[in-house]
């Protein structure tokens, strides 16, 4: 079975540009979450989407936005890139169960470098 897939694997942008990262969840999973992992730190929660609706949002500026499509894939957009946005961006999918007892499965990530 295919796991969570993300594209691209690596990306280089310059300050002020915009970037779009893509994620395809595991088949049957309807929930997708995005995380930012800066070198030497743990993943920081950005968003969670379920059935195309935003379910949760972390402490990130409005430059970060996301959406989920009818096939449950998702895009993360970051506008007006800053040097500090350089990080590994992780996508995780889960089969959401009521009561929040879900297990997230992570993709390999997209490594973004902002120059």
């Amino acid at each position: 079975d295919a796991g969570v897939t993300q594209s691209p694997t690596h990306l280089i942008k310059t300050r002020g540009q915009q970037v779009t990262l893509r994620c395809s969840p595991i088949s049957g999973h309807k929930s997708v979450s995005w995380y930012q992992q800066v070198l030497g730190q743990g993943p920081q929660f950005i968003f969670q989407y379920y059935e195309k609706e935003e379910r949760g949002r972390g402490n990130f500026p409005d430059r970060f936005s996301a959406r989920q499509f009818p096939n449950y894939s998702s895009e993360l957009n970051v506008n007006a890139l800053l040097l500090g946005d350089s990080a590994l961006y992780l996508c995780a999918s889960s089969f959401y169960l009521s009561g929040g007892t879900e297990t997230q499965y992570f993709g390999p990530g997209t490594r973004l470098l902002v120059l």
Binding site: G42, F45, G58, G100, T101, T103, Q104, F106
Partner: protein, 111 residues
């Protein structure tokens, strides 16, 4: 704000030694608890999870963790580590629709 603390940033052990990695969280309500592992060059993988019930949970590869609610802790243990356990270990909690990860513990096992 909720947070997850992993006090051991880097641990070095010899093969066959016992392992215990600390994880404490700050949140007074109901939490789901997780340990993830990231082997060199690989992505995050779930080791074990706790939602409810028996506070001692067993995961893959001989790992286990104990949830002690009164101490807000969820420490990871393994009786005898192997060289292949060399990896980064992350503790995480879920509170409602929010997820929080610790900063990770790097484990190096010396053959």
């Amino acid at each position: 704000a909720q947070s997850v603390s992993q006090h051991n940033h880097h641990v070095i052990l010899s093969e066959a030694a016992s392992l215990e990695l600390g994880c404490n969280y700050s949140y007074g309500g109901t939490v789901n608890l997780f340990w993830y592992v990231q082997y060199p060059g690989q992505h995050l993988q779930l080791l074990l999870k706790y939602f409810s019930g028996d506070p001692l949970v067993k995961g893959i590869k001989g790992f286990e963790a104990e949830f002690i609610k009164s101490k807000f802790s969820f420490n990871l243990r393994k009786p005898s580590v192997q060289w292949s356990d060399t990896a980064e270990y992350f503790c995480a909690i879920q509170t409602g629709n929010q997820f929080y990860f610790g900063t990770g513990t790097s484990l190096t096992v010396i053959p």
